[in-house]
């Protein structure tokens, strides 16, 4: 059974009047409209929908990279909180195991794609976000403030970039690993002057 995002927005507004929450209409045939929540109010809204509206199951947490904000507005329009230089977005799909409704789609946005790439972690409300937020941190580079153990999860620890970003450039040679061999061979050349030149 699907949920009406407008009703949810009304009940959140009624209970938490100061919350920044905007309806984002989905133009596609799926009819899954979403609610964009301000970063400062994210944890409060999550707690409210879990405790008061019985959305006790956070199924899916996804990151999205929007270097071009116009595209983000095409997919989910009619909102506010626009950022001029692109941003990263996190989408939450919540369900209710008792009322058997869902999905309730919530979104949160970072300010930009560089320094201010943070979103509060919801692990304290929904444990299921623990590994999924780590994955988003790993692949998109969104820093979840308050996450108990924010480390890379799929890429190796020494890896520097965030491969799911749209402007990520894959290396020419995936197998290349820096080893001391090159330097050692160069130094070895000095012991064999007849082969050096």
């Amino acid at each position: 059974m699907s949920v009406d995002a407008t009703d949810i927005q009304t009940s959140i507004r009624a209970a938490l009047p100061d919350v920044e929450i905007f309806l984002r209409t989905n133009p596609g045939p799926s009819g899954q409209h979403s609610l964009l929540v301000g970063n400062g109010d994210l944890l409060g809204v999550m707690r409210f929908v879990r405790d008061e509206l019985a959305f006790d199951f956070l199924s899916n947490v996804t990151g999205i990279d929007w270097p071009d904000p116009a595209k983000a507005d095409a997919v989910a329009s009619d909102g506010a909180l626009r950022s001029p230089h692109g941003f990263l977005e996190v989408v939450y799909h919540l369900f209710s195991t008792t009322k058997r409704t869902g999905p309730l789609v919530l979104r949160a946005r970072t300010v930009d794609r560089a320094e201010n790439c943070t979103i509060p972690s919801v692990v304290s409300v929904f444990r299921s976000a623990e590994f999924q937020e780590r994955e988003i941190y790993d692949l998109f580079g969104i820093v979840f403030t308050g996450h108990p153990d924010l480390r890379r999860i799929l890429m190796w620890d020494e890896f520097a970039d965030h491969p799911m970003r749209k402007d990520y450039v894959a290396p020419d040679d995936y197998e290349y690993e820096p080893t001391p061999h090159g330097e050692v061979l160069e130094r070895a050349q000095t012991h064999y002057p007849q082969t050096a030149g």
Partner: protein, 373 residues
């Protein structure tokens, strides 16, 4: 496996895996032990990571279909269905009745494969290395023969299409499924008889690894793991996707949620799958196996997003897709049940023996192709 003593010389730090038979693939657990007792357990994965999502974002919608087979390679056909369902939601495609029946038959056969193989693996974890798995794989092979006859491939089926299936059922296939279903009940009876009262199984699995139902729901656990703890949440009943509302079947529930319940719930689920299969074979209508209006070439869903999910054999398998009107998905996300079911692995293992941790991991039923993606 490497072993080192910690500073206090009391705790033993063991790196279990990634090459270890009981870890079901390349999966590592960093465990700290006080004697035999687990005091800390951190799963490490990513060894099979190939960034499935990034590759799918650079390909057209249809060309990701064969790639979904490789997520959970034990059950490719349910992966196909979940992806097809999400794209059908995204683009608003209708599926003809016959195709829906074919999908149900294939999904329930896949559930039989998964749960049967699970029985073999979990007994292997308990020390019955070989024979249980051999009998489980004997039955699995019969179903794989049917898949090969229908799709041309034993495992990498690549069979579903947006709006239906790739080809129609070959002559005599339906009758072969009927024969298989009739033979499967006696096999389950036999396997269950050997297991239910088995002393080793009882002592190794009872009261091991249970958590309160609220913790499991909060931790995002789905599938047989959740139902073994008594939470009645099966997406076939909740969403009634496809045509699952036409069949009579029940959702088996466990009581305690320990490893024993998780094993037994899979037996009961297989029996319910057989019920669904019998009804589906009887009711299978004539008609189109794919929606003739669905476009295959030049397929561009309208701008929008959709989240589609099914009850996979391991739990909720979902796909979140965003279309920007081009032939490639702007965002393609897999919600993998194996990955999220591992969230509470540490909580289940704390305070138990290291040998129990291996069995608890086995009872979660993971496939690393899906965990690492």
């Amino acid at each position: 496996m490497s072993v080192e003593y910690t500073d206090s010389d009391r705790l033993l730090r063991v790196s279990l895996g990634p090459q270890h038979p009981s870890t079901h693939g390349v999966f590592r657990m960093n465990v700290e032990l006080d004697g035999e007792t687990v005091v800390k357990l951190k799963p490490v994965f990513g060894y099979l990571h190939r960034n499935h999502e990034k590759i799918a974002e650079g390909a057209t919608y249809l060309s990701s279909m064969p790639y979904t087979d490789r997520l959970d390679y034990i059950c490719p056909l349910t992966n196909n269905w979940a992806y097809a369902l999400a794209v059908e939601k995204l683009a608003g495609i209708e599926v003809p009745e016959r195709a829906e029946y074919m999908r149900v038959i294939l999904a329930e056969l896949t559930r039989l494969i998964n749960h049967t193989a699970f029985m073999g693996f979990i007994l292997g974890d308990m020390g019955a290395w070989g024979s249980a798995l051999m009998y489980a794989f004997r039955e699995r092979e019969k179903i794989l023969d049917l898949f090969e006859h229908l799709t041309g491939a034993r495992m990498m089926a690549n069979f579903m299409r947006f709006g239906g299936c790739r080809n129609d059922l070959p002559a005599g296939w339906r009758e072969q499924v009927g024969t298989l279903v009739e033979g499967y009940g006696p096999f389950l009876d036999e396997m269950e008889k050997f297991l239910v009262g088995n002393e080793i199984l009882l002592s190794r699995s009872q009261d091991v690894g249970q958590l309160p139902a609220e913790t499991l729901v909060n931790g995002g656990i789905t599938g047989p793991m959740l139902r073994a703890a008594g939470v009645s949440y099966d997406i076939r009943k909740v969403d009634r996707y496809g045509i699952y509302d036409r069949f009579e079947f029940r959702i088996p529930l466990g009581e305690k949620g320990d490893v024993y319940d998780r094993i037994m719930i899979r037996f009961l689920e297989m029996r319910e799958s057989l019920k669904i299969l019998r009804q589906a074979i009887d009711q299978l209508p004539e008609g189109d196996y794919v929606n003739p209006k669905a476009r295959i070439r030049g397929f561009k869903p309208p701008v929008g997003e959709a989240y589609g999910r099914i009850e996979g054999p391991k739990g909720e398998l979902g796909f979140h897709l965003i279309s920007d009107g081009t032939p490639n998905p702007y965002r393609y996300r897999v919600r993998p049940p194996s990955f999220i079911n591992l969230t509470l692995l540490e909580d289940m293992c704390l305070g138990l023996d290291l040998a129990d941790a291996v069995i608890i991991l086995g009872s979660i039923d993971i496939v690393l192709g899906e965990v690492d993606r």
